[in-house]
């Protein structure tokens, strides 16, 4: 054997080594393997390799004994031990610094409460119309209208469309028209009630998941005299759904209908709301024009076959109406589009005839707000933890010196953050539980905590985890990076980087808060603006009630009797209602008008004294008058219409409406007859002395409203005994159009307030921390003669600088954001400079108040106390 061969190392079977390493205790591993190898080398020299392998195998396996895998000498504590230690330390720290802990927990809890509430709200918004079983097959049709070079989208469609779709397009399984809600009188025996009634095709209950308590989906709306009613209505008239089925009910005092179905009350999260449903056919019988293709009235919904491709269907539908509308040189072109039924609620706006958002904007807005608030709360946590790290630094130093590795320390601080977050989550769940009823009344919703919903708890757990991670990350990485030598020597200095980071966080926090405050002021101002804007008519003291029953034929008597009531000033009537006029016509022409580019007018049929009752201002000419018989063919137009027509001296000039010709007798100054989301459109008013419909308007005097109203009711009841008297105040109805903005405004008020509160909590904590840190400095300053005022100033200046920087950042961002929001209104408040100044001052004042509490406390301290010990 030569030397080389002697020293040659023969590796034993590797798999045995591998196996042994699995179960042998780590502290024994080195000697065991060494000994095994040594004996193997010896054996391989003395005997054959196979024998050596076999013996190696036997010896290796002999280590399968408890003494070999017992790990009682292990220097590494188990994972569970470490976590327990972390939590113990965290808990002790929590109790030791009660003030800081409560600031941290309260801030996080408040932040999370906001986030949870906003999350509930968003979830609720998304749940609207999402409960239908066939949700993914249901679509609604909208129409794109092109006229006068403009494009607009409307959701009303032609009456016969639904039936025609079913015939022509095989992918469409079911379809129904759905008319708008009317409030009509229903009578059973001597009981009369007004109920909201809609009409729909026979497929309706098969498509939508409104469960029937009585009757079946096939026959519910089969015949013209059928009526499906809600449980509530059945209970009101008959006592129970069972008693109602098959009974007769009198409708509008002119028709007897048979109740063929009773459905469960419509849930709140449905956009279709109705008390009862009549068949669409019956509606067509009442309204001849609904048969044709030349007018748009109902909504149209359809259900696709499960396997159908919606994109293909949409393509087929695009020019669907062309063949039914014969006019070859159309000036008014239409196309059809489809939208998934459940998406309409959040995306109900049209821009250039395309679906363009809607409430979804608010959802995005509040998602951002929720994230902002949570971020602000997390930043509090980060800031306080890092600021206080000087106190914890010694602990870190000792831990590191006895061998803690960095990742273990990171883990420690993260688990500490987690503990606080979990406490905060518990508190916030409690807060949510307490605040939810209040939040519900604020948003007009009926939300509950989905305690049984697993995904809710999943989200809460996820939020806890992310918040804990976010809040704990910076302190964890910062503290674990400290050098133990420096720390233990007592020369811990924050690097300028970490100081900047902390300052940066404060700036970021206050920038967010300031943005929210500015946003809040703007939203509030816009709502104010909308509600107090001079609409061109006076909406106070103007009531209106539906023109129904005998009120058309008896209008003369009604007007005469109403006028005799002492509180009534004027009486007139108007198609639709004074708060909102939505009809449209493009049938107006005049000499020189462009036949290929018609202007769309809003037509309104009115009675005598229309201008005076509405308190409109005349620009030229006069109101309709009984003195001039020719007025029955005359027109009143508004300024916008005049601009569109372009007449120099309009009064006395002629306009054509279809085949009618009429003279312009007056021009009304522009007034808002729609919500301020839309610009004022050209308006044409005509005298409607027969077949009056819409509303009767009564201008009443201030004071004694109750008595006047009851006298009006008496008059109406006498003429119209079958109909319950319902009236509306124009100003209230007007305000209702801005309901969602009001909710948003209220919500943003609260959330902006909370955001600044949470941010100030953090500042309060930082302030008290730095007062503690600089106690000696303050003591010395006082001894050498500084006044309390000077110290307070010195102290506040540091923070105020940060706040000013924050505001400088916030202003342009906020300006951009609110400007975007205001684009949604045709008439909007200005964004004036003073709003930013105000927001700035508010933030500053709040900050100064917060800091001064701490700084005055620090300045008033007796210097002896802080300097005594050294």
């Amino acid at each position: 054997m030569n030397n080389k061969e002697k020293n040659h190392f023969h590796p034993p079977p590797r798999w045995l080594d591998w196996l042994l390493e699995r179960f042998c205790a780590p502290h024994l591993w080195e000697e065991v393997q060494g000994d095994l190898h040594e004996r193997y080398q010896l054996r391989i020299k003395r005997t054959s390799k196979a024998k050596a392998n076999w013996l190696y195998f036997r010896e290796a396996l002999s280590y399968l004994r408890p003494s070999a895998f017992k790990r009682h000498y292990s220097p590494q504590p188990s994972f569970a031990d470490m976590i327990r230690n972390y939590l113990t330390i965290a808990w002790r720290n929590l109790l030791k610094n009660k003030a800081f802990s409560s600031i941290n927990i309260a801030g996080l809890a408040l932040g999370m409460t906001c986030t949870l509430l906003i999350m509930f709200w968003i979830q609720d918004e998304y749940s609207v119309d999402a409960f239908h079983t066939h949700k993914n097959q249901l679509y609604r049709i909208y129409e794109r209208q092109f006229f006068s070079g403009k494009a607009q989208g409307v959701i009303w469609t032609q009456g016969p469309l639904a039936e025609e779709l079913k015939e022509e397009i095989p992918e469409i399984e079911m379809a129904t028209a759905f008319s708008w809600t009317n409030y009509q009188a229903f009578t059973v025996g001597n009981k009369t009630n007004k109920q909201g009634i809609n009409t729909a095709g026979p497929d309706f209950f098969k498509m939508f998941s409104f469960p029937l308590l009585q009757g079946n989906v096939e026959t519910a709306l089969k015949d013209v005299n059928n009526l499906a009613i809600s449980r509530k209505m059945a209970e009101a008239f008959f006592g129970s759904p069972e008693a109602a089925i098959g009974k007769t009910i009198r409708y509008d005092n002119r028709k007897d209908l048979i109740i063929t179905a009773v459905f469960e009350n419509i849930p709140q999260n449905s956009t279709l709301q109705f008390d009862c449903l009549r068949s669409w056919e019956a509606y067509v019988q009442d309204n001849e024009w609904a048969k044709g293709w030349d007018s748009n009235d109902p909504l149209t919904f359809f259900m696709l076959r499960v396997d159908a491709d919606p994109a293909k269907v949409e393509a087929k539908l695009k020019h669907f109406t062309d063949k039914y509308i014969p006019d070859p040189n159309k000036t008014f072109r239409t196309e059809l589009g489809i939208q998934p039924f459940h998406e309409y609620y959040l995306n109900s706006n049209f821009e250039n005839a395309q679906v363009a958002g809607g409430r979804i904007k608010y959802i995005h807005l509040f998602t951002i707000v929720a994230v902002f608030i949570l971020l602000i709360a997390c930043i509090n946590f980060m800031n306080l933890a890092t600021a206080r790290s000087a106190k914890r630094a010694k602990e870190v130093g000792v831990r590191k010196a006895i061998g803690a590795i960095r990742s273990a320390l990171t883990g420690q601080f993260l688990s500490e953050a987690m503990l606080l977050t979990i406490l905060a989550v518990g508190l916030s769940l409690l807060l949510v539980f307490v605040l939810l009823p209040f939040f519900n009344s604020l948003t007009d919703k009926h939300m509950t905590i989905p305690v049984t919903n697993i995904s809710f708890w999943g989200i809460v757990a996820g939020m806890t985890f992310i918040t804990g991670l976010l809040a704990g990350s910076y302190p964890a990485f910062f503290l674990s990076s400290l050098n133990p030598v420096n720390v233990l020597k007592g020369t811990l200095k924050f690097t300028s980087g970490s100081l900047w980071f902390r300052k940066g966080l404060v700036v970021f926090q206050f920038a967010l808060s300031t943005i929210l405050i500015i946003g809040m002021i703007i939203i509030y101002r816009q709502i104010e603006y909308v509600q107090t804007k001079n609409l061109g008519y006076s909406r106070e003291n103007l009531i209106y009630f539906p023109l129904e029953g005998n009120l058309d034929k008896g209008y003369g008597i009604l007007k005469e009797q109403l006028s005799q009531i002492s509180g009534v000033k004027q009486v007139s009537h108007i198609t639709e209602s004074p708060a909102s006029l939505n009809w449209g016509t493009d049938g107006i022409s005049w000499p020189g008008s462009d036949p290929t580019n018609r202007v769309r007018f809003t037509p309104v049929g009115v009675g005598y004294d229309f201008v005076e009752t509405m308190n409109l201002k005349m620009k030229e000419g006069r109101d309709f008058s009984k003195k001039f018989a020719t007025d029955s063919t005359g027109f009143l137009i508004n300024e916008s219409a005049l601009k569109a027509i372009g007449y120099k001296n309009p009064v006395g000039k002629f306009l054509n409406w279809g085949n009618h010709q009429g003279k312009i007798i007056g021009v009304i100054k522009d007034f808002h007859f729609q919500s301020l989301h839309t610009p004022i459109r050209p308006l044409i008013a005509y005298l409607r002395n027969q077949h009056r419909e819409g509303s009767i308007m009564v201008r009443i005097e201030t004071g004694n409203t109750q008595r006047t109203l009851s006298e009006i009711e008496t008059v109406c009841k006498k003429l119209n005994p079958e109909y319950p008297f319902t009236y509306y105040f124009t100003d209230q109805e007007y305000a209702r159009q801005y309901h969602s903005e009001q909710v948003i405004s209220r919500l943003s008020n609260y959330f902006a307030g909370l955001a600044i509160f949470i941010a100030c909590l953090g500042l309060f904590g930082l302030g008290s921390f730095s007062a503690e840190q600089r106690a000696k400095e303050i003591g010395i300053r006082k001894i050498v003669g500084a006044s309390v005022g000077q110290i307070v100033l010195l102290f506040s200046a540091d923070f105020l600088k940060l706040i000013v920087v924050a505001m400088l950042i916030a202003v342009p961002v906020a300006w951009y954001a609110v400007n975007e929001w205001l684009q949604g209104f045709a008439y909007r408040t200005e964004i004036s400079w003073w709003i930013f100044v105000l927001a700035g001052i508010v933030t500053l004042v709040i900050t100064i108040l917060t800091i001064s509490f701490q700084s005055i406390k620090a300045a008033l301290q007796n210097p002896v106390k802080s300097l005594r010990t050294e």
């Binding site: 020293n7 190392f9 024994l28 080195e30 000697e31 065991v32 393997q33 060494g34 000994d35 095994l36 190898h37 040594e38 004996r39 080398q41 010896l42 036997r58 010896e59 002999s62 280590y63 004994r65 003494s67 070999a68």
Partner: protein, 108 residues
């Protein structure tokens, strides 16, 4: 400390450690026993006995002396403690005492 009762195999191992004093590690102790007793001994059993002896305080150990045939791994070198020495003496004495006590007639 666990009971100081010394089992038979433990005694042998302890003796081997004493014999190989200065270079007593698992493999060396095992081959010493094998040589002395003329039979093969399981390394695992020896290790386990060494650990028990260490727990009983009869031997102590330290790491050292890596060699090539061990793949560069260190040995755990055992040495007999005073308690260990005393235990061996006690056993030796006990055996001697018992040996002396055998009546001469027993062999006849």
């Amino acid at each position: 400390m666990k009971g100081t009762y010394l089992g038979e195999f433990e005694e042998v191992v302890l003796l081997a450690v004493a014999i190989r004093s200065g270079d007593a590690y698992g493999a060396a102790v095992t081959s010493e026993i094998e040589q002395q007793m003329g039979r093969s001994v399981n390394l695992g059993a020896v290790h386990s006995a060494l650990h028990r002896l260490e727990e009983k305080g009869l031997v102590n150990s330290q790491m050292g002396g890596a060699t090539a045939e061990r793949g560069g791994r260190r040995k755990r070198l055992y040495s007999v403690t005073i308690a260990g020495k005393r235990a061996l003496e006690e056993i030796h004495q006990l055996r001697n005492q018992m040996w002396e006590s055998i009546p001469k007639t027993a062999w006849s």
